[in-house]
């Protein structure tokens, strides 16, 4: 009965109700987007880092992986030592350096990753064959590199390191055969990258004599042991920066604190808008219907029921807005994500707005709670109106 009355009251003013629902919908959409933004980056970053199961990264001290051109010297003995640890399942050293290839009429620069086929967490094979352990003549290429250089599986190509500025003679030159096309997990969109054996790519860098690695990835057998193994490696190798995924996510969070703060501010504003909208509309509606409430009180309807009716009206108005708003928010999130993922150098696997059930439920519940709460004041106004005075004022 109360529910029917509530919906009849809302239907009495279709334009007013429609506009209020639209306003609440926009507030709900913005809130959902901000909830997705605040947690989405971290989840997507963490998912990307864990995509091959490696939970620890070693990088040159004072840096994050691939954050600078610094290298870890003496990579081979370091990797050998790590592989003797019984808690470590796999160790994947990576060295990265720009290399050059000659294409029709010009020189193309690509990023070369040196990997150990026995343990790599850098790419996923899309087609062709992977590098076999000990393969020092094979090359894996990304789709953008294949497109730019016109390479196909089975091609033999000549790659070289830095050119001498005067003589144009390459520092190091190798002929490699394309074995397969891979998707590099941490590459930016359209980044041209290739991978070859660790020792091969080391020769192209300027620090080849120091046995360099840009990063070492470590897979621990048991997730529960990650922190202990990270601490053990850090203690044994004080000149290397050791980070678990949780630590890297914390660093990432620090760098993108701006977006978290922005999402917090905008989420708060959207809740305030929802409260103001529901509160204002219901206050005016209740003001118009004071006589009606006085009559209801006069025929014996209890105050609590009147309060329930007005609060329910606020909740119904908000619920309608939330239903529309959540759909609107999901659509807007895709558009906003397209904008933000255009950041130069951002790995293609990163998303800023990650839609999941939790975010939708949290945003919907927050707006619903705010809207219902906003109805409390008008409900109090409706319930406390003195019956005789209100009826006399209405009659006059």
């Amino acid at each position: 009965m109360t529910g029917a009355l509530v919906f009849r009251n809302l239907a009495r003013h279709p334009i007013r109700t429609g506009l209020a629902v639209l306003g609440i919908a926009i507030a709900a959409a913005l809130l959902l987007d901000m909830v997705m933004l605040s947690g989405g980056m971290e989840r997507s970053f963490s998912r990307m880092l864990l995509s091959r199961g490696y939970q620890i990264r070693l990088s040159p001290q004072g840096t994050l992986p691939f954050d600078s051109e610094a290298v870890i010297p003496g990579a081979t003995p370091l990797v050998a030592t790590l592989r003797t640890d019984p808690d470590i399942a796999s160790v994947g050293p990576v060295v990265a350096t720009p290399i050059h290839v000659r294409t029709a009429g010009s020189t193309l620069t690509v990023v070369a990753y040196g990997i150990d086929p026995a343990g790599q967490g850098l790419y996923e094979l899309e087609r062709g064959a992977d590098l076999a352990p000990g393969d020092t003549t094979g090359l894996l290429i990304s789709e953008p590199a294949a497109r730019a250089a016109g390479w196909a599986i089975g091609d033999t190509v000549t790659v070289f390191g830095r050119l001498d500025p005067q003589s144009a003679e390459p520092g190091a030159e190798r002929r490699l055969t394309v074995r397969g096309v891979v998707r590099f997990l941490y590459d930016a969109r359209d980044q041209r990258s290739v991978a070859a054996a660790f020792s091969v790519v080391q020769q192209f860098g300027s620090l080849a004599a120091r046995d360099p690695a840009s990063m070492v990835m470590v897979k621990v057998r048991d997730d529960a042991l990650v922190d202990a193994v990270a601490a053990r490696i850090a203690a044994a190798h004080p000149t290397v920066e050791v980070n678990s995924i949780a630590m890297l996510v914390a660093q990432f969070r620090g760098r993108l604190a701006y977006f978290q703060q922005l999402s917090l501010i905008l989420a708060t504003i959207s809740l305030v808008v929802a409260v103001l909208l529901v509160g204002t509309i219901l206050s005016i509606t209740v003001g118009e219907r004071l006589g009606e409430f006085a009559v209801l009180r006069g025929i014996g309807i209890r105050r609590s029921r009147i309060v329930r009716m007005v609060v329910l009206e606020g909740a119904a108005l908000t619920a309608l807005g939330v239903v529309v708003g959540l759909g609107l928010g999901l659509v807007a999130a895709r558009y906003l994500d397209d904008i933000l993922t255009a950041f130069p150098g951002l790995p293609a696997a990163i998303s800023f707005f990650v839609a999941d059930r939790d975010s939708v439920i949290r945003a919907g519940a927050a707006v619903l709670a705010a809207g219902t709460l906003a109805a409390a004041y008008p409900a109090w106004l409706a319930a406390r109106a003195p019956i005789a005075l209100t009826l006399r004022a209405e009659a006059e």
Binding site: I15, R16, L19, A20, L22, G23, I26, A27, A29, L30, P60, Q61, G62, A70, P73, R162, L163, D164, P165, Q166, S167, A168, S206, P238, T239, V240, R255, A257, Y258, L266, S270, V273, L276, L277, T280, I281, I284, G287, E288, A332, Y335, L336, I339, L340, A342, F343, P344
Partner: protein, 270 residues
């Protein structure tokens, strides 16, 4: 005697310690002042070199690096090359073209002259390095559009309610012979006043938010970078939009009200 000899030797025969300039934040973090000697190593556990701090400088505020919280030291080029073990190697160099010569053509000529480097005109580098901020700007614009749509709906809703609240006034005015146009003008004037007062309050609120944002971020990142600007253009846009939306909403609601029969309005209001 030996100590004195050593002191004389060091004063006369040892090479002078090279100088560096360090940025203010780094100097403050390690309590280093001009004249102090610092030990620098290119990598953990590497060979240590000593340098004298010759200057403490305040880097130019740069949004590209401010949030990274990195410290910087400036070396004389040969000293850094020597420290890194890369004599006669540089990462980049700046070239000033003669006045009147286009930077693009100089860059193209340099690219043809030798190998192993790429030459770029400054505006190309500026465009490339500002891509990050272009993305942030696009994001802000998108959020701005959502905020404008939300406030338009909110304003329309409030104006509709405000005008509907005045049904009795509208009915009385119409019944005593005041024309529809005058009633609409009266309501629009009221809406304009409300929108104007709201705009002024909004500008004040935005200015306060800007001050708080700059204060908070400048303290957090220890920088003089200005994060929030409230320019006359932005103020004009905000006030203009508010007035436009307010007047539009008021006009819409007022026209809807005067279109109704005054007697029906009277009955509904009573």
């Amino acid at each position: 005697m030996l100590l004195v000899l050593l002191a004389l030797l060091s004063a006369d025969t040892l090479p002078p310690v090279p100088g560096v300039a360090i940025e203010r934040r780094l100097a403050a973090h390690f309590s280093v002042a001009v004249g102090d000697t610092i030990a620098v190593t290119p990598e953990p556990g590497g060979a240590v070199r000593r340098f004298v701090v010759e200057a403490v400088y305040e880097p130019r505020p740069d949004p590209a690096t401010a949030l990274r919280n990195e410290y910087h030291i400036r070396f004389h080029l040969p000293d850094l090359a020597d420290l890194l073990g890369h004599p006669d190697r540089i990462d980049r160099m700046g070239v000033a073209a003669v006045a009147g010569i286009a930077a693009d053509s100089v860059a193209a000529r340099l690219d043809q002259r030798a190998f192993g480097y790429r030459a770029f005109a400054s505006d190309v580098i500026a465009a490339e390095s500002s891509r990050t901020f272009a993305v942030v700007s696009r994001f802000h614009r998108a959020i701005g559009v959502i905020a404008i749509v939300a406030s338009a709906v909110f304003l329309l809703c409030i104006m509709l309610l405000k005008v509907e609240e005045r049904r009795l006034d509208a009915a009385v005015m119409r019944l005593i012979g005041i024309s529809r146009a005058t009633v609409v003008r009266a309501f629009v004037l009221e809406a304009t006043l409300i929108a104007a007062v709201g705009s002024v309050l909004g500008v004040g609120l935005a200015a306060l938010a800007g001050v708080l944002t700059n204060w908070g971020y400048q303290r957090r990142f220890d920088t003089t970078l200005v994060f929030s600007y409230l320019t006359p253009d932005i103020m004009a846009l905000g006030v203009g939009l508010s007035l436009l939306l307010g007047i539009g909403a008021g006009l819409l609601a007022a026209r809807r009200l005067v279109a109704a029969n005054p007697l029906a309005l009277w009955r509904r209001a009573a």
